[in-house]
């Protein structure tokens, strides 16, 4: 689960970088950057959750 979480984080960042480098107009660029950040937040949430699961198993 943690691997998937980190892949989501990196994927979100890739969306952000692609939007900045490839989209010339301000509106779509901002929308894709926000979408990338949302994907990153999903990844962060999953990473936190996987840590909680590991801790529960450890106990």
């Amino acid at each position: 689960m943690k691997l998937a979480a980190f892949l989501l984080l990196v994927a979100g960042w890739a969306i952000v970088v692609s939007a900045v480098a490839l989209l010339p107009s301000a509106g779509p660029r901002a929308a894709f950057v926000l979408a990338g950040v949302a994907v990153e937040l999903l990844g962060l949430g999953l990473a936190v959750r996987s840590h909680l699961v590991l801790e529960a198993e450890g106990e």
Partner: protein
């Protein structure tokens, strides 16, 4: 991919360079402050270990940075590797020789950058120490620091400060003046704070911190005096850090250091006082260690935009940091089972990210270029910290842990790090208890 030279910043007149040099000499006080805070928030039986670890990681960071770090980071106006996308050059890594070869260490901007970074990278390396307190082996702290100073830190620092793609967002995409992070809310504090998060996940909590039901036990720091004294040292250091960084990386005129010092102080003051009030309301009495964390969080949040804030805005930035830090510390401990003895994640990662966002919300940093895109430039920088720096830092430390176990042996936690790793305690004339009351 091609080799290019980034646009050069205006060279500094000799008097300005001298002012900048003197300001940079204040920065080690910030390291002293963080080391004292880390030591005081840890346990008495690991106090000598905490201070020796602080000294060791500072030394490792400086040496590794000189060997390879500056080669990746570079400075604006120096050679770098670039990607060409849509006819625009995007710098991604510097192309300097190892060991600072070919660089004259005088009062030139590049030499001043090296000096400032030599201190700053040590500061970033001190941050994870507090989250790994009482269970992180000395050798592992040094190895992890080598990864930070040789890879994670210089990479992001080049993007933000060395003329890299984040700094170019203004010129290439019209996003305000590009990513603004004068004193290092992102490049130093958030990088260190996110590394601290990686370390807490890898080391896992101290024994006895969480019960079988997942409830956290209070393991208070051993010396509040050290912690609060550390805050005062950090304040001095941060004035130098924010001022020197703003002159070198944002190109502000040296006369603006007065505004920067005022804003840095106001941020810390507002944040510290707000945390005093928040903890007074929550617990019935002010909490000394959380209030100290609030003070430092204000310093952290001030770093990015101190050169562009109005004093009233600095008070707001600090006030928000002072509210957020104790709340995040609670959530991390009570909800997310993260054992962060020194509060590095809430103070440095969250405080740093807030400082970056505050540049867009509460300063006029992007005003000369049209402030419309400044918020997007800041958001892209924050997304890079979360989406690249965190996975990179976790991955490197996870690999290190596979090759060289980072957490101390079970016996070491019962004895305390001082006796187990150093053979002697910090306070030999006092009776310092091990965890004899915990089941083995």
């Amino acid at each position: 991919m091609t080799l290019s030279v980034a646009p050069s910043p205006a060279s500094l007149p000799e008097v300005s360079a001298l002012v900048c040099f003197l300001l940079i000499l204040l920065v080690p006080f910030a390291g002293v402050g963080l080391a004292l805070i880390n030591c005081g928030l840890g346990r008495a039986r690991s106090a000598a270990h905490a201070m020796l670890a602080a000294l060791s990681v500072t030394a490792v960071a400086a040496i590794v940075y000189v060997i390879v770090g500056f080669s990746w980071q570079g400075a604006a106006g120096r050679p770098e590797h670039v990607f060409m996308v849509g006819g625009k050059a995007w710098g991604w890594i510097a192309a300097e020789p190892f060991f600072l070869r070919g660089l004259r260490l005088d009062l030139s901007p590049a030499a001043l950058v090296v000096l400032l970074q030599l201190f700053s990278v040590g500061l970033a390396a001190l941050i994870p120490l507090s989250s790994g307190a009482d269970r992180w082996r000395l050798g592992a702290t040094c190895a992890s620091t080598a990864l930070l100073a040789g890879c994670t830190y210089p990479l992001f620092a080049h993007w933000a400060w060395g003329g890299g793609w984040l700094a170019q967002l203004g010129a290439n995409c019209g996003l305000g003046r590009g990513f603004v992070d004068g004193g290092g809310s992102g490049a130093i504090q958030a990088v260190g704070g996110l590394t601290a998060l990686s370390i807490t996940w890898i080391l896992r909590p101290r024994r006895g911190k969480f019960s079988a039901e997942g409830l956290p036990a209070a393991l208070p720091g051993h010396n509040a005096v050290l912690v609060l004294l550390g805050c005062l040292f950090a304040w001095i250091g941060w004035i130098g850090l924010n001022s020197g960084g703003a002159i070198l990386f944002l190109g502000v005129e040296p006369a603006r250091v007065v505004l920067i010092a005022v804003n840095t102080t106001l941020c810390a003051a507002a944040s510290g006082l707000t945390t005093v009030v928040v903890t007074r309301v929550r617990f019935g009495r002010p909490d000394a260690s959380l209030s100290a964390n609030g003070w430092v969080a204000g310093l952290v949040a001030s770093s990015a935009g101190a050169a562009f804030m109005k004093p009233a805005a600095a008070i707001i930035v600090g006030g928000v940091a002072g509210i957020v830090v104790p709340l995040v510390a609670d959530v991390l401990e009570f909800r997310l089972a993260v054992d962060d003895p020194g509060g590095a994640i809430s103070v440095h990662a969250v405080g740093g990210l807030w400082g970056l966002l505050a540049v867009a919300l509460l300063t006029d940093a992007g005003a000369p270029q049209g402030s419309g895109g400044q918020w997007l430039a800041q958001l892209v920088g924050m997304a890079t910290l979360l989406g690249l720096v965190l996975p990179l830092s976790y991955g490197l430390n996870w690999l290190l842990d596979r090759a060289y176990r980072q957490r101390v042996e079970r016996e070491g936690e019962f004895q305390g790090m001082d006796l187990f790793e150093l053979g002697a305690g910090a306070y030999p004339e006092f009776d310092v208890h091990g965890d004899e009351f915990l089941p083995r």
